[in-house]
Structures are given as structure tokens and as C-alpha cells.
Symmetry: C2
Subunit: 405 residues, 2 copies
């Protein structure tokens, strides 16, 4: 019941059989860039979702949650706009999100309950429904099995590049595909942030199993990244499973399914971090020697969100002291005398004392674009965790000080 080979294929989110996709421009973005994406299955298929935990939930989140419940975990389409989050928009916002799903259902000739909807962009601005309606018509006409790349473009906001993936999974149960697209790029934090992720597979999976597997895969991927510790009103990850590969996965194949979904989610999640606002370096924060995995994750998140750590790495400064200071205040059990800090393979602090003679070696390592740091919390425990983040640059400040005005 395990994966024997994973190979990249073309096609992104439309690579799995039984799906088509499109991304079009309908004028929501003033720039004229693509701003509406449609992903369609040949018929209603199993669907699962993970939603933001933010209590200020945007209208599309509420609408998709309702429809997924009404359909018993099935969907035939996902419609997404960028450029407007349709969040904090009151009763009008709910009406617009419902209309966006209903218009899509009408265009495709499917039941309204099997359309999921998502939005990303500025908070508090209303959707212009005339543009959305035109976009849905344009996207329906553009749907194709080679539309994955356009679909990835249609969900971008300040993302510097599109994020897509397509994999062929060779397993003991047969060969099937997994594809996906995602967008970042600020407000990215564990617990789901404006981060959108859409995953398709042509494996056959019952809705309940797909939901369990998606939640597990998201925990180690989309929920293990952070850009700025912010969690948005609009985050969601949807997964659709068409069964068109002929491979059918049962409850006993849960691990295989989680591995397959994780294989698609991980590069998308890392892509979000690489494309984080102002990011110049990908940082992998590894924490070990914790009393529990959750303690380790708490520390790893604290380090990954620390402006002092992120600015030090941005500047190439092997400032291990900041890693110690954050570990000490993270809330996890911590023993200064037995803690270890490494930047790359360079051990800079252990047994309560610095090894600053190795700082030049670490500084040299920090000139790279992919940085790993490691903190052993010194408790003697087996808990460990990994979080991906990016550095904090003056460009992040510039982007976010000028976002709207």
C-alpha cells in the first residue's frame, strides 16, 4: 500500500484525468491580469476542504462550507477570483459569493450545491458581479485539459510567480495522478492563512476519506509555513477526487493517499514561502529535542515568525543568540545548558556556551538562498518539527505600507 515512484508530469491541476481548468481576465484587477479561475470535474466528484480558523470569515468561506455540507462532500467545480477578497462585505458579500457559485452552476449545468467558491485580494471591497459573470462565461469557454497554467495565474495577487504541481503516483494500488495550484503571498501563517490551495486527483476516494487525508497532508505542508504570522479571512484548501484513473483507494490506503496529497501540497507550500512578500531566502526551521512534537512546532513557529531572526538571516548575520532567545520565550520546555543551535551544519551554541570562532563559516553559509537552522531544545525528549518561512526584508515593508494607498 505504498508509493513506489513519483514522477512529475505536465498539466498542473488539470493533469489528473477527469478535470479541466481555465484562468481568464475579467477586469477585477485593474492591471488586466488574469483574475478568475475555474476548475471543473466531468461530473460531481468527492470533495474535501480545510478552511481558515480566523473567526472573521469571508463570505466565500461561509458559502463553500455550506455547499460542501449540503452536497455531502461532492463538487463538480471550483470558481475563484483574485483582486477582491469579498471579506467584511456584510450581507452583500454573502449574496455575491452565493451568486458567483450559482452563476457557475448555471453555466455548467450542474446543481448549485456542487460548486465551491473562493476569493483573494483586498478586504472590505465588494465584488463587481458584472465582471464576475463575464469571467465565468469566458472561463467556461476556455476550459481545457491544458488550462492548468492559466488557472494558476488566475488566483495570484502579489505572488511573484505562479505555483502549480502535477505528479504521477505509481503505487501498489495502481498509477494515478495528483495536481494542484496555490497562491500566497502575505498573511501566511500556520492555521491557514490568504493562502488558497486547490488539489485534484484521479484516484477514486470517498468524501470522508478524502477529508481525513487532506487534513493530514495540510498539517505538514500548508499548515507548516509562515510568511508573517498572519492568518487571513479567506484561506482554504480544496481537494477533488475524480476516480477517472480507475484506481480506487479505501480506508486501508489512508497513508498512501496522505503521502500522495502531501507530495503535491509540499512543493506548493514551499512555493508560497519562496514567493513570500519581499522574500529573498527560503528558511527551513528544524526543532528537535523537544518534550513533544507540539512543543517543537510551537518553537519552530515562534522562530519562523520572529522579526529578529528573519532580519538577521536577511542580513546574513549568524546571530544564534536570537534563536536561543526565541526558543526560550516560545512557551516550550527548554534547557539552556543542553540546548544546541546550528545554522546549516555549523554548530554555534552548545553546552551553554557560544562557538563564535565558527561564525565566519556560518556567515558564508548564509549568503545562500536556501537556509536551514536547527535548535535542539535540550529537554532530552524526542519531539521534533519543521516549519518553512522566508526572510524579512525592507521590501516586505514597502509592499505592505503601500498595498492600498
Amino acid at each position: 500500500m505504498s508509493i513506489t515512484e513519483t514522477r512529475p508530469v505536465d498539466g498542473g491541476i488539470a493533469a489528473p484525468r477527469g478535470f479541466r481548468a481555465a484562468g481568464v481576465a475579467c477586469g477585477i484587477k485593474a492591471s488586466g491580469a488574469r483574475d478568475l479561475t475555474l476548475v471543473v470535474a466531468e461530473h460531481p466528484v468527492s470533495a474535501a476542504a480545510v478552511f481558515t480558523t480566523n473567526l472573521a470569515q469571508a463570505a466565500p468561506i461561509l458559502v463553500s462550507r455550506d455547499r460542501l455540507a449540503a452536497s455531502g462532500g461532492h463538487a463538480a467545480a471550483i470558481v475563484v477570483n483574485s483582486g477582491c477578497a469579498n471579506a467584511c462585505t456584510g450581507a452583500d458579500g454573502m449574496a455575491h459569493a452565493n451568486a458567483m457559485a450559482d452563476l457557475t452552476a448555471a453555466a455548467l449545468g450542474v446543481d448549485p450545491s456542487v460548486v465551491l467558491v473562493a476569493s483573494t485580494g483586498v478586504i472590505g471591497v465588494k465584488l463587481e458581479m458584472g465582471k464576475v459573470a463575464r469571467g465565468i462565461d469566458l472561463a467556461k469557454d476556455a476550459l481545457s485539459t491544458s488550462g492548468g497554467a492559466d488557472a494558476a495565474l488566475g488566483i495570484m495577487t502579489t505572488d511573484p510567480f505562479p505555483k502549480e504541481v502535477a505528479l504521477e503516483i505509481v503505487s501498489s494500488k495502481g498509477t494515478f495522478r495528483v495536481g494542484g495550484i496555490a497562491k500566497g503571498s502575505g498573511m501566511i501563517e500556520p492555521m491557514m492563512a490568504t493562502m488558497l490551495g486547490f488539489i485534484t486527483t484521479d484516484a477514486g476516494v470517498a468524501p470522508g476519506l478524502l477529508q481525513r487525508a487532506l487534513r493530514a497532508a495540510v498539517e505538514d505542508t500548508f499548515n507548516s509555513i509562515t510568511v508573517d504570522g498572519e492568518c487571513s479571512t479567506n484561506d482554504c484548501v480544496f481537494a477533488l477526487a475524480s476516480g477517472a484513473s480507475g484506481v480506487s483507494l479505501e480506508a486501508t490506503d489512508l497513508r498512501l493517499l496522505v503521502d500522495a496529497l502531501r507530495a503535491a501540497c509540499e512543493p506548493l507550500a514551499i512555493g508560497i514561502v519562496r514567493g513570500g512578500e519581499g522574500a529573498t531566502k527560503l528558511i527551513t526551521v528544524n526543532v528537535g529535542g523537544a518534550r513533544s512534537d507540539s512543543d517543537a512546532k510551537r518553537t519552530a513557529r515562534a522562530i519562523a515568525n520572529s522579526p529578529l531572526v528573519k532580519t538577521a538571516i536577511h542580513g546574513g548575520d549568524p546571530n544564534w543568540g536570537r534563536l536561543v532567545a526565541v526558543a526560550g520565550r516560545s512557551g516550550a520546555a527548554f534547557s539552556l545548558d543542553r540546548a544546541v543551535v546550528k545554522i546549516g551544519d555549523v554548530e554555534l551554541f552548545s553546552e551553554g556556551t557560544p562557538h563564535d570562532e565558527r561564525a565566519p563559516e556560518a556567515a558564508d553559509y548564509l549568503t545562500g538562498r536556501e537556509i536551514e537552522v536547527f535548535v535542539d531544545l535540550g529537554t532530552g525528549g524526542q519531539g521534533q518539527a519543521r516549519i518553512w518561512t522566508c526572510d524579512l526584508s525592507a521590501e516586505y515593508v514597502r509592499i505592505n505600507a503601500e498595498y492600498r494607498t
Copy 2:
């Protein structure tokens, strides 16, 4: 038992009777700036302290905690160096912190148990004890009742200006003074961060009462500020009470004493925020309508530490949506339909909908240097809190990317 008048006086930390102070340069800082401060009482007096909650505690924290316990809450001197935190320095660091206190005790002819010690500066670097010893001698010779300003200079690191205060408190119990100095300016966060604060008073107060009052005053002042959400290895606030005013405060005067200490701590705490790394604006975050005060404080802290909020205010962008998004993810109870967001007096969001027609008025307000924001969490509860913070600028990134290298 209440304060009838509070008037500013000269003299800073040496303004209360029974204290002398000095700040000298002994070569720890390469710049040649003052880097050693001494505050001395005429004889051992009541002393209290609040220490960092960081589990990676610097040697001077451990040493001061021990001595305060050994002396039963008494101190005759506080010796502080800047330029080197003496944190993460192992057994040598403990020896150095103990030696720094012992050398001070010898110079002053007092028992070693009544000397408190503090350090601030780079983590992981060892104190050069020859310089420290010379500094203690220089400072002892420079001690005077007009040494408060130099004492404020001697504890600065990247602080752009010294922070000192001196007040005469006219109360129903008589007239006494409170003075103090403090330093920031990164790694500032609730729960005590490298923030040092030293408070003197010539009221007579027993050690236990002074400790209770200091903890209460710190909660609403030094523990209600944040620059970057970081909590350091070296934070501490010490208070000494000489009794030299002849005014003696009892347990029934707790509120009066807390008010007096708070009156000194609040301007010092706000001074730390004003002098935060890269800060251009002082931001007061007010949260109301919370289920409890602690819920309100949780949300206020989340807003005050949000890079998206801090960059928006830096850029003068009335982006109320970010305030809603942070409130929603802060962990406090929150109702989007009944929440209210104000920037200054301008209500930008209420009853689930934006009032963007008022955005220009809010943008105009944001051109100022002192900004207040308000979020009502919409629970109908009475919980409220206030946190002071500063904006996040590209200059913060520059300072922290270049701190050591």
C-alpha cells in the same frame, strides 16, 4: 490614601532622597559612549524586581534573583552595563555576573548580597572584566545626586534617546518622590523584553509590599508595550525604596503606591516604544467589547505585533481590514457582525460592513506621529485593554539585519 498632585521634578533616578547615581564610559562599547551605570542607596533599602519570563535567562538575571532572595528583598546598589548582555555565556558568564556584583559591593563597602546586577547588549559575548572593574571604580567616584542623566545614558544600546523620569507625588500620606530610567529598543514585548527599568522612591515601603506594587505597575506599563514581539534573555525592572522622605506606606496604601510607581513607569515604557528600532509613530491599540480583560489584551497584543498592521500604519494606509483579520485570528471571542474598528475617531467598519467613504479622513489622521486604533470585538462583554507599540519601517529591517556584522 490617594494622589492629590503629581509634578515633574529634575534629577531622574537620583531625584528621590537617599539615592545617588552615575553613568560612565569604561570601554565595553567600541564607540566610547557611556556603558556602565551605578545607582546607590545610602544604606540597604527595600528592593523588588520583575524578571524576564524567557527560559533562556542571562547570568545577571540569575545572579540578581539569587541575591534578592538572599538579602530578603534588600539592596544598596544596582550596577548595569550596556554593550554586552552576558547571556548564553555559560559558567564564565555566571562568574562574571557574580564578580561584577562583588566588585561593586567591595567598592561601596556593602554586603555582596545587597548588590543587584543587569546587563544589556549583544548575546553570547563575554564581559571584559578589566573594563567592568575600571567602570565600577569610575562610577563610584562619579556618584552624585545629579548623576541621573548620565545613569540614563549608561544603559542605552540602540536606543535613540535616553529615558528618564522624576516625579513629586503629593498624597494624603505626605509628599514623596519617584524616579527612574529605562532602555529599549528592540526585543520589546509584553512579558518583559531587553528592556531594563530601574525605579527609585524615597517613600518607605516594606519589601513584600514593594514587590506587589511593582508587579502591578509593570503589568500596565512595561508589560503593555511591544516593539517586535520579542522577549529577551535579560529583561528586568528593579525598584528601590529608601524611606528618606519620611513618608511610610503600609499595605492599606497599596493603590497609592501602585499609582505612584505607574506614574513613573508609564512615561518610561512609552519612551521605549517611541524609541523602538526604526519607529516613526507611537501607536496606542485599544480593544473593548471583549469577553474579558485578558481576551482584550490578547487581541491588543496580536494587533500591536502584527507586521501587516504596523506596516500599514507606517505607510499611512487606513487598512481597517487588517485590524479585523488580526482580531479574528487572535484567539479571543469575536463577532464579525457586531465588531467595530476605528482609526483615531473615524469609524471605518461596523455592523459587518465597511465605511470606506471615511477612509480619506482616516488617512489624513494617519499622517500624525501619535496614532490610536480601536477594535470592539463585538461580544457585548466589558473586557478592555490598551497596548502601546510602534510602526514597522524599512529602518527596523536595516538595523536588525546589520546589528552584529
